[in-house]
Symmetry: C2
């Protein structure tokens, strides 16, 4: 494909990239013109694919190498060809979700796909083959029948945003180095705070590398709020602090408890009702109990959209208790935060405006590419107070611009990836109403699935349908062994993907996640039929 | 540009994307063929740009929309056109490094570039303009005259790797969801451990969202090694622990001390020699002192390539002391780890094989796009021991494949971005020797700069040149105010970028970073002349 230059097409004769000099010249000409004009010289500045022999080209031949421009552009266009073909196939229901192989199979090497690294370089032809194979043996998380994770779907605007982000290849710590991205982050966080309902969208926040880190931030700043001396003196300066979170909450609260020096035993798990929602009376009882034992309650996490049941804790009732006992209220809306975009469904997070901090992952229900998670804080300045170390080489106070835009010292990270652009671009492209429509559609689909499953033989709902359906819905099969077996066959056949797990005293059941914008009712139908087909002979 | 369909070119007549059906058909045909063949149907499956009017197209018209394939491909190709033009300009010395504007200017809106988000969607034409403007007002971190940060350069293979990563849009927690990437991570980490010198490359590790988080991991696992009960019972189960690190070390060690509940006062700073290297005798004295005061020394961080001076602490001498007092030795090689790739320079990290853990950021000196940082650990299993919470919905023990490849529970994150692919692909494309050549070239350039500055009027070295030059080099001007003023003018003129800071009793000086593969001796010359030109009238 790459090695054969004997296949000229009329297009090639137009290829301005064939001569480096002419490219540079025309590029410069184009640079002087209005970007929105459409005249000949501008069209000339566009790339044209040429048949390139990559078998004798290596990384060292690309920019910044001398005469590296043409191979660079041609190589990138070849990669884009692979990627756009992958995008097309991702949305094509006649393709598989995955082509499963066991670890030992991939490690042994598949038809020229060798994962081992070596001292010597490989040709760009081989690199392109490696790119194809990497996609071939991966999982199409944007496939309409991929329901396996809370993050799914392949948003084209978000994808374009990520491509641009990696091309800009910069870092969020200072305005100096990321002026546009830093401002986008500030404006977007403000908009998110407005949707939470904090007055005028005031407050603080950051994008972090995921919901677990965002939740960790919430515990850190709660501790700093009540016991700021822990920053300098350590946990020995504080009494024995306890945190409260639902038995159904995400494990990151316990991870934060372990990492930050509280200890997992001091993360007290709250009982839930049959739908997986925290029972407020249990919270109050456990606060009183902890105080009687001499512990100091510090922090309560309310989950808005739990990981398995998709349950929404009653935030207002929890907030009442937090106010009564002067505790920090965090809402983990990593999964359910997206419902704030929907006028129809945002009531499920009613009371969130009373929270001191909120985790909200646009990379989950809102379909933003990974990673995109925000920690939002009602009190301004507390993130910086908690985390700043004032490194002189980054945060010089004597810069020529307003250094309040240098936000890096608020983070526990130093370098911080640009997670904002894809999200900002998606918001621009869809508008708030676009996100709203997506959320509403997901919840409609979830209702559709619920109605189908409810009375269907062979399926049983994990909990009763009296409570409202959320966008994570559940179904289960008859014995503990069935779900793993069906899942194994599903992986081998590659037709669809859905997760399973046990929970409490319930046996293994499937956890259906509807967040994929490509999924339709017919895909839901397919999943149900496929589970039956695969389970037929069990 | 986008609104005009009246510019047909011969190419358009070949555009198989103009009819959705024919695309699908040919795509399928192509899919049945050997990927490396070069026949007509295969060439037909390649994309062709067509003139598309994006002013009436919106995000909702893209895939998964019905008939969304053509606009999707055309939109992505238009974005790629913007990006490839940006790549070309990045390497063009006749362009600026940045086009500086103050925050208030960008916030007020620049010629149709409006950062505010709204309820209604914008056309794809506007989205493309937004992409252009975002790049226009940003900083070209890959420009040959960008010396401002430890991360610089724009590696084309790495860029292609990032584009693929965002297209795959998956998550590192399980083999199920990222089979190829999980294996690439394991193989690459093993290779890195081999270069550190741990027997057979055994051990453990993870890619984390940056060096600060990697360093935080090292403190967490050190604590878990000596006081595992802290995981469940919190810091109150341990004696008063102290950490040791250089006064020149990265601030993330102190941040970790604050976050993990040690307290910054229990992060004891070690004195350094004139070159910024830890004085081992000072470490031993401070260990003895801490013990006498009843504290328990736990952890020593040795820096391999300090942030400002580029200093390498004497690892072997520090390791001797750590062994004597039974302390965890961490080497923060975020910046200097890349030197392990160079047979000529790796001796600067001599003794690193004695470390218990190592931070190494390929996104710094090795030029891998952001983010790419590894925490490497000598003892296998301790990362999982420290961090695992065994969430049932992700880490089911009854899967059909070998679940030891489900590495997510080792992390403090849940979702974890795929940082490995771009690095793996660069390693494939360059080979170890390609990285070695890059490192050697950076250090040669640094020596070149040193020789030029040494005897030049108007400049003064921050420290004497008797010690070996590393890849971060320093120069400074005569009074505290000069560097900030020159930097301000440099930002306004946009011709080059270099950082400055004070350190200890030294006034503001420039910190020169040579890690950009595009930089040559002429760019070093340019920088020196430019600083003189800008400072001429001060």
């Amino acid at each position: 494909m790459f090695g054969d230059n004997s296949c000229p097409s009329p297009c090639n004769t137009l290829g301005f990239l064939q001569k480096n000099n002419s490219l540079e010249e025309k590029g410069r000409l184009a640079g002087q013109k209005n970007l929105l004009s459409c005249d000949n010289s501008d069209r000339d500045a566009r790339f044209r694919r040429t048949e390139t022999d990559f078998s004798n080209l290596f990384a060292r031949d690309l920019l910044p190498a001398k005469n590296g421009e043409e191979p660079t552009i041609q190589f990138l266009l070849e990669v884009v060809d692979i990627l756009t073909n992958y995008v097309k196939k991702t949305f094509d229901r006649s393709t598989k979700v995955l082509d499963f192989h066991h670890p030992h199979q991939l490690l042994e090497g598949m038809e020229g796909f060798n994962l081992e690294l070596s001292d010597q370089p490989e040709s760009l032809e081989q690199i392109l083959v490696d790119c194809r194979d990497t996609l071939k043996y991966g999982v199409r998380t944007g496939h309409p029948r991929f329901f396996n994770q809370l993050s799914s779907g392949l948003d084209i605007i978000g994808l374009a945003g990520e491509w641009l982000t990696s091309t800009a290849n910069t870092n969020m710590f200072t305005y100096e180095i990321a002026p546009v991205f830093v401002l986008m982050e500030q404006l977007t966080l403000k908009k998110m705070r407005e949707m939470i309902g904090w007055p005028s969208g005031e407050g603080d926040g950051l994008f972090s590398p995921g919901g677990a880190i965002s939740n960790m931030y919430s515990v850190m700043i709660a501790r700093y709020k009540y016991f700021p001396e822990v920053k300098t003196k350590g946990m020995s300066a504080a009494p024995r602090l306890v945190l409260f979170t639902s038995e159904h909450s995400h494990y990151s609260i316990k991870k934060a408890g372990a990492a930050l020096g509280f200890g997992t035993e001091n993360v007290i798990l709250l009982s839930t009702d049959e739908r997986g929602r925290v029972i407020p009376a249990d919270l109050e009882a456990k606060i009183i109990d902890a105080k009687q034992k001499g512990y100091v309650p510090l922090f309560v996490n309310a989950t808005a959209g739990s990981t398995v049941y998709g349950a929404f804790d009653p935030i207002n009732e929890i907030a009442d208790i937090c106010e009564k006992y002067n505790l920090w209220l965090h809402v983990d809306g990593a999964w359910g935060g997206g419902l704030l975009m929907s006028r129809k469904h945002r009531h499920k997070l009613s009371g969130i405006e009373r929270a001191n901090s909120v985790t909200w992952n646009p990379h989950k229900m809102m379909g933003v590419p990974l990673q995109c998670s925000a920690i939002l804080v009602r009190e301004k300045g507390i993130l910086a107070g908690c985390n700043s170390m004032c490194a002189g080489y980054l945060f010089q106070p004597d810069k020529q611009y307003d250094v309040t835009y240098d936000t890096g010292d608020k983070a526990i990270q130093c370098g911080r990836h640009v997670d904002i652009f894809k999200f900002w671009l998606m918001w621009k492209a869809k508008g708030t109403i676009g996100f709203e429509q997506h959320i509403d559609k997901c919840l409609d689909l979830s209702q559709y699935l619920y109605n189908k499953i409810k009375n269907r033989e062979g399926y049983e709902m994990v909990f009763d349908g009296v409570v409202k359906i959320h966008s994570s819905d559940l179904l289960f099969c008859h014995s503990h062994q069935v779900a793993p077996k069906i899942k194994a066959m599903m992986m081998e056949s590659g037709t669809t993907m859905v997760g399973y797990q046990p929970q409490g005293n319930k046996v293994n059941f499937f956890r259906m996640v509807v967040s994929n914008p490509a999924a339709t009712q017919s895909d839901i139908d397919f999943l149900i039929d496929e589970i039956e087909r695969l389970g037929h002979d069990l």
